[in-house]
Symmetry: C2
DNA sequence: TAAGATTGAGAAGTCAATCTTT
DNA sequence: AAAGATTGACTTCTCAATCTTA
């Protein structure tokens, strides 16, 4: 039935926005970096070479390149990250954590983990979590090779 | 492990944005109403009494009241929906589909269903879809009673 | 010409303040 | 005073155009 095949997608949209709002409400005015900044810091911490090019970072945090460009502007001004030239390709620009950025990440992490735990994770069993990861990864992977679908 | 408890949430964010972008890319320039409008039309179609108050509509489509207020402005101008006074409470305003809105919905529906099918549903088994709905509904329900957590 | 990053213009969305009715 | 809707000022985000290097 059409409705059933559509239901999973609706659940996804509904759940994400509900939880996201709860987390934001949770953290507002706490002195902790905002979700978008937190995500940038987190991704950079996990970068294999310690930094990403702007474009890579944009993919990781799921924002447009232009948005990331401005975000990095602000975060550089706040001392959280630093831009660096790539000697091998002078078109590219690397972004890396500063000590201050790493400290902000460390300070924010427990608050975010706790909030995600409380508003999302705790409502699911281990099996349900595993199921979500398995299902949603399948969806995401199906798209990873599709940047250019048509020849 | 902390990372594992966090993984399901990350999957969710990643999958939603990936699929949403694919759907939008799919439908751009097709003459079909944009996703936000489609969602409004869809919700109004499903309204038990054929209409919603602004506030109810805002909850359904997961947008702020102010955003919905402006959205409805535009959609009224486009002839898709109509505002109507509530005789029993003159503070409230009802929004309902017009014939034109219903026609736009009917025209758009197969395109949206097909796109959601192709970018999302088709990648999941029936069991996986059921699992998603079950898990994510639990999360959403856990929040429905939490509008005012603290006394 | 292509790829990488940034900038300009504007769309989409939010919060706080306001107006009206209860 | 409180609930429902709208408005004003603002943040967030995107697309298209541009600049620079490959």
């Amino acid at each position: 039935m059409e409705t059933d095949r559509y239901a999973a997608w609706r659940s996804l949209l509904q759940a994400q926005s509900t939880v996201l709002r709860a987390i934001e409400a949770d953290l507002v005015g706490s002195g902790i970096v905002a979700p978008t900044w937190y995500d940038v810091l987190l991704q950079l911490e996990g970068a294999p070479l310690g930094c990403y090019r702007m474009q890579e970072l944009a993919e990781k945090v799921v924002l447009s390149r232009s948005r990331v460009s401005r975000l990095v502007d602000e975060m550089v001004a706040a001392g959280m990250v630093a831009r660096a030239a790539d000697p091998s390709d002078r078109r590219a620009i690397h972004v890396a954590l500063t000590d201050e950025g790493r400290a902000a990440l460390v300070a924010a992490r427990p608050r975010y983990l706790e909030s995600i735990e409380r508003h999302f994770t705790t409502h699911l069993s281990e099996a349900e979590r595993d199921g979500l990861v398995a299902s949603l990864s399948k969806v995401a992977e199906a798209h990873s090779g599709c940047r250019t679908v048509v020849a």
